[in-house]
Symmetry: C2
Subunit: 212 residues, 2 copies
DNA sequence: GTCTGGCAGGGGAAAAACCCTGTGGGCCAA
DNA sequence: TTGGCCCACAGGGTTTTTCCCCTGCCAGAC
């Protein structure tokens, strides 16, 4: 009997196209496709809808790949999740794996590699490309002790610093003295290792505190 | 005889999956797939490789969808380009259409809509979804006269302004006087309607001059 | 010739960046 | 209870950078 696969991706065309691809493999067939995590969880209420493998996009609206994977790991541990993403961001990869994904595929993998991944996941329980393995190894040596945590008020400030407002205007908006704002700024420069406001803006965007 | 289609997308899996989808339509077959615009142009040197339709991703490395479409429009006008993208940005859509694309599909279209689009492009020569039509109509009322064009040297400056360098350091790097750099900055502030460097950084990122 | 555009400078006001000090409230432990 | 400590907040004062206005040179285009 063929192994069942569910594709979760918010882009209709992609989920269908990937589904088509999966169906072309002898050992697998697509049970159904979903547009987001919520839709998948709804479907899984019916035991007949529980697949062997979920091919999950990371970036989705409503319920994203990470949250959904976490939920699956808690409630349907028998389901193997393979993450599928264009993201090469270390943090995202690690988050997915921590959430319980059995593998992480870049969207530019070849058809044969997808086939391989599906086979290996069913057989060994996991599949990791070289890229992902490297990220994992790096994350060990990488001094991950300096996980900077920002306070709510600091984040609020950063967002305002990403506009054309002067610090004086930001101070007014936050009902604080300009001097206090300087304090926030200096603290952030210190702990994020930045030289000036431009650095702060780039940091904010990189870390999705502010989205242009 | 079936109409020939070429898929251009930097993500291997996606191009193959979409190819699979196209092959499932009776009236079409995939000639080959490419990873970027350059690869396509290379292929087209051989007349046997000229397809009826190109399904082109907009975001690609090396030679992007817009430039490639422009080139095709100049040199292979008989080839119909259908843009395929997750981007819903008005500007991008307009750019693609101005470059000569015959249609613009969001990547979340359904299989049947892709089929429709392919059929219509072969028959009528174009295919536009409601979204795209709306953008076109909007672009008429929208004052699109202020299409700001930036010079090469200005773009070079903007990129450096998106770092933590001071203007003096930027001047050194560009082998110019700090005063000249001020000139660039002031000209940009003026024509982009900005107040300060932070505004410039946000502008650069929004318009993909600089990617964090 | 004139005109435009890239380049460069002087001078000055404003903002940003970097010092160091101080207050008052909450919290914890002697 | 009290003294010590941390922390958000705020002020004084100074240097550096940014921002703005106005002028001038020179080469290449018209």
């Amino acid at each position: 009997m063929k192994h069942s696969v569910v594709v979760v991706d918010d882009h209709n065309l992609l989920s269908q196209a990937i589904g088509e691809l999966v169906n072309s493999f002898d050992e697998f067939h697509v049970l159904y496709t979903c547009k987001n995590g919520q839709e998948l969880l709804d479907k899984l209420q019916n035991p007949a809808n529980i697949p062997n493998i979920v091919l999950m996009d990371v970036n989705m609206p409503i319920l994203n790949g990470i949250e959904t994977t976490e939920h699956l790991y808690q409630n349907f541990p028998q389901v193997k999740v393979l993450a599928l993403s264009i993201e090469e961001d270390e943090k995202v990869i690690l988050k997915m794996l921590r959430s319980g994904a059995k593998g992480y595929l870049m969207k530019d993998v070849k058809k044969t590699e997808l086939h391989n991944a599906l086979l290996e996941v069913m057989e060994k329980g996991f599949y990791h490309t070289n890229t992902v393995t490297k990220v994992l190894v790096d994350s060990l040596s990488h001094n991950d002790g300096d996980v900077v945590t920002l306070k709510d008020r600091e984040i609020e400030f950063i967002k305002l610093a990403c506009t054309e407002m002067t610090y004086r205007e930001i101070a007014d908006k936050m009902f604080l003295s300009p001097k206090t704002i300087e304090g926030y700024r200096n603290a952030l420069f210190e702990k994020l290792n930045l030289r000036n406001r431009t650095g702060l803006v780039i940091y904010a965007i990189k870390n999705k505190i502010f989205t242009p």
